[in-house]
């Protein structure tokens, strides 16, 4: 590592200032605001705020609706993470077998990720459209009368499918580069040591891929928790009614549609804590078992 020398002791802080300012203005300041307003009840018409201590929290955590949404969020996150990781991994393994360093092909696949979540949601919802959606037609063939936006489970199903569909290319790219980074000689040594390809995959390929998988696990859980907002918004057609929602969407609903800024802030703070705990737990328990070559 090269040690930089600065003529003035203030210069490094000066150079860091824009970055620190961005982090402060866009991350810490809103967080601090949220924490502060979570202890107040704001008058819906903007006539001041009343300090209520932990009341917002107790209200939120005592609400059966909130707990139901939390439960759905958990299930949704686990399913989306599991499916988008495993499907992408299978595709990457298949692609890796036929691909020898064709990077143009790889970056073409990456383009899918440039689709913004609401756009993905819109495209996805067309698949599930009551009149023109091919997936609805397909389901009908099996006697499944799919009613996205009306039936709770059908809506949840559509959300999962679109969220997974949107995330697969991203995971695929990372898995594929991870696979291609495994030294050729290592695979060959394994080919001599072990006849079963499947067994080689579990015992050599997957452990070598663990750092990538660990990274993607965190990214995907965060994605399922937060970045699916746009998809949910489109699938529920902005009419939550009794459709499945995630916690993030609930924050938005309560804060901006119901103008319950205090309750919404309390939910945000709860989410922040969840993410913090989740990330720490992942690093603590999983990273320890991951080999970084």
């Amino acid at each position: 590592m090269k040690r930089a020398q600065f003529s003035s002791p203030l210069l490094p802080y000066f150079l860091l200032a824009p970055q620190l300012a961005i982090i402060f203005i866009f991350f810490y300041w809103p967080s601090a605001q949220a924490i502060q307003s979570s202890f107040y009840i704001e008058d819906p018409f903007g006539f001041g705020a009343t300090f209520v201590g932990l009341e917002n929290y107790t209200t939120v955590l005592g609400s059966s609706e909130y707990l139901r949404i939390a439960q759905f969020t958990l299930v949704f996150t686990l399913i989306v993470t599991f499916l988008s990781l495993s499907i992408a991994l299978v595709l990457a393994v298949k692609a890796d077998a036929v691909l020898t360093g064709a990077s143009t092909y790889r970056s073409l696949l990456m383009w899918v990720y440039a689709i913004a979540p609401p756009v993905a949601g819109l495209m996805g919802i067309m698949f599930f459209d009551q009149h023109i959606g091919p997936l609805v037609d397909l389901a009908a063939l099996f006697g499944w009368d799919m009613r996205v936006g009306v039936n709770y489970y059908d809506t949840a199903f559509a959300m999962v499918v679109i969220a997974v569909w949107k995330q697969i290319p991203y995971n695929f790219i990372f898995f594929l580069s991870g696979l291609q980074a495994i030294p050729k000689h290592l695979r060959e040594a394994a080919a001599i040591d072990c006849r079963s390809e499947l067994r080689r995959f579990w015992t050599v390929t997957l452990p070598m891929l663990a750092p990538t998988a660990f990274f993607l696990l965190i990214i995907n859980m965060t994605y399922a928790l937060f970045d699916t907002f746009g998809i949910i918004d489109v699938v529920t057609r902005n009419e939550p009614a009794n459709n499945p929602l995630t916690l993030v969407y609930k924050v938005y609903l309560d804060g901006f549609r119901s103008n319950d800024l205090g309750g919404s802030s309390a939910q945000s703070v709860i989410l922040m804590i969840v993410v913090l705990v989740l990330t720490m737990a992942q690093f603590r328990f999983i990273e320890r078992r991951v080999h970084y070559g």
């Binding site: 000689h185 001599i192 040591d193």
Partner: protein, 377 residues
């Protein structure tokens, strides 16, 4: 343990490169074969075809009495040691060794016995629980060897296993590999571009050139009777001197010299009346003062350029011909007429010194000027 036989084995890569051109050979049970040749001559390709890591374009490879062309690497009963060791980074040394045995359903206590035994032989017992990244290059090399040994395979395949080690370790491991192979008696095919490694390890050398076998033989006979200028210049260091000569009036002279029996080089007619490439090893020159040239011998006059001491001896780099101005010799193409001569360590030659040497008839090699093949005597 097994024999290995190759019959007209060829490899044409997808791009159209013919990396191996119809190679046939038989490897005896327990034999240590070294494939040697410059980089890109197809050594690794050939070895990898034996291992099953590369498909065979045509021909047949048998291990023991079984044709293995269509058999998976894992089922060929071979073990391979790779250049960069290819140890599994996420497994301990113990598991690296045990992995191939577990996948073959060897009982646990038998695995343990073999791993401990290999660890003892290779002196890696102290780090069986370590991961490969916590080992030095030499230790990793031993682990890679251990992984091959525990398998007790029919054949060991080595692809330049020592080329990532420093010079001292390389010599040490070379000796160890040879000792191990002799005590285990396992048929081995070893690939290297290092001619010294090849000479010291091989029961039989296979010199490859451009994907084809140039010569097969035991190291000494390859050294003493190189089949071509390619082998002559590849085996031995410094390389054999190769001097193009013309034959005039029954005597060989430098191409550039016109007079019969030329003023700076005079040798026997080994080309049946036509010019040939004369080969002499650096160690086969004797000062003319000690041994005057007989009728079949070579006599040579040179001008010293550099003296290179290597300790036990020195190598004299010189250009053929006396000091041109003084003797009137016409050395027109000086770059083609350089020689290396081994001299005693005590020799104290100065640059520009004019010296005469002889080489006896039995030390001279003759090669065809166009094909490079050895001309039989």
């Amino acid at each position: 343990m097994a024999t290995i036989s190759l019959e007209e084995v060829r490899k044409i890569y997808a791009g159209g490169v013919e990396a191996v051109k119809s190679v046939s050979m038989d490897i005896a049970d327990g034999e240590f074969i070294v494939l040697v040749g410059p980089s890109g001559c197809g050594k690794s390709t050939l070895l990898r075809m034996i291992a099953g890591l590369e498909e065979i374009s045509s021909g047949t490879i048998s291990i023991g009495d079984r044709v293995v062309n269509r058999i998976d690497p894992a089922d060929r009963d071979i073990a391979m040691v790779f250049q960069n060791y290819a140890l599994y980074p996420h497994m301990s040394v113990y598991n690296n060794l045990a992995y191939g045995l577990r996948n073959r359903g060897v009982p646990k206590d038998e695995i343990d016995r073999r791993v401990k035994e290999a660890a003892r032989i290779l002196e890696i017992g102290a780090f069986l629980e370590r991961k490969p990244k916590a080992l030095s290059g030499g230790q990793r090399q031993r682990v890679a060897m251990g992984r091959a040994i525990v398998r007790e395979p029919a054949a060991f395949l080595f692809d330049e296993p020592l080329s990532n080690l420093d010079a001292k370790l390389r010599v040490q491991m070379r000796v160890e590999i040879k000792r191990l192979q002799k005590s285990l008696g396992t048929t081995s095919v070893y690939v290297t571009h290092d001619q010294l490694e090849a000479m010291t390890l091989a029961d039989r050398l296979v010199v490859l050139n451009g994907g084809a076998i140039e010569q097969i033989g035991d190291p000494i006979s390859v050294y003493e009777q190189p089949a071509s200028t390619f082998v002559a210049s590849f085996i031995g260091s410094p390389a054999m001197n190769l001097i193009p000569v013309s034959v005039r009036d029954g005597r060989a002279t430098l191409d550039s010299e016109t007079a019969a029996g030329g003023s700076s080089l005079s040798g026997p007619d080994l080309g049946n009346g036509t010019g040939y490439t004369l080969g002499v090893r650096p160690e086969h020159f004797v000062p003319a003062s000690e041994r005057p040239a007989g009728p079949g011998d070579l006599s040579l006059t040179v001008t010293t350029t550099v003296l290179e001491p290597v300790g036990a001896e020195s190598y004299l780099y010189a250009s053929i011909g006396g000091d041109s101005g003084a003797t009137g010799a016409t050395v027109t193409n000086s770059s083609a007429a350089h020689v290396v001569i081994r001299v005693p360590a005590a020799a104290r030659h100065q640059p520009g010194e004019v010296l005469s040497f002889t080489a006896t008839a039995d030390r001279l090699h003759a090669f065809d000027k166009t094909t490079g093949k050895r001309i039989p005597r």
